[in-house]
């Protein structure tokens, strides 16, 4: 399962990236998608199978499940993750 985690600031997203990478998780730092938030910022794409607790421990202020792209485009879609 791929999750997108948003943080209160880009620097906290960066800190979370370092932490998760250090614990061996596959993490990608990307700009916050427009569907998720309209202001500028960075968030994390995480392969979170079995490591949800480590992800939550980094203090995200939002979690989204990553869905397949809209048909005919490359833009991923997201739905809120409880």
């Amino acid at each position: 399962m791929r999750l997108l985690a948003t943080y209160p600031s880009s620097s906290s997203a960066l800190r979370a990236e370092h932490r998760l990478k250090a614990s061996g998780l596959a993490v990608e730092l990307i700009p916050v998608p427009r569907q998720v938030r309209s202001n500028c910022g960075f968030c994390l794409l995480v392969d979170a199978g079995g490591s949800l607790e480590s992800l939550r421990a980094t203090g995200p202020d939002g979690l989204w499940r990553v869905l397949d792209p809209e048909p005919g485009t490359r833009r991923r879609r997201y739905e809120p993750y409880p």
């Binding site: 880009s10 730092l29 490359r74 833009r75």
Partner: protein, 206 residues
Amino acid sequence: MNPTRRTLDVRSLPCPQPVILTRKAMAEGGFAALEILVDDAAARENILKFAAWARCEVDEVATEGTVTRIVLRPATPGEAAEAAPVVHAAVGAPAGAATVLLTSDGIGSASPDLARLLMRGFLYTLTECDAPPLRIILMNAGVRLALEGSDSLDNLRTLADRGVDVIACGTCLEFYKSTEILGVGRISNMYEISEHLLSGPSVVLG
């Protein structure tokens, strides 16, 4: 000879030329089917990945000995009028599409950390674009983006697989003593780079 079929022989061409030439031919159009002759396994996979991405129909993939023949059809047959814009939108505008020149591994210079973060974000965002640039040219510290260990290497590889011509400045690689660890793209020189910058719209970031 069938005038509605064009043949593209990319045998013995080094990667990523086969996929780049395929992309250019699809953008030019003017045929019902494009027959590609390829003799390199990686190039064949890249062409098929590109075909899936550009929503081409794959009519045939036939391997005989070392040569594979791939036949692609742009978009839906029988809807030529609609097919052309669909293909162009998918592969990026054909002639004069943008060249992106990156002169640093960051965007702006006030804070190096922020600059690098913005560049990473920019290259990731290009991978989600439905019409990525025709080529990305890396100069000066921009070449660092394409080196082994770079945070942006995977994104540049994704773009290269889709037919974006990733070009690294040979002088710059040599200056930074990094030629051996170039992880994506090909090495070129100021002559080719200048021609590209003057041949159509360019976006310069660095």
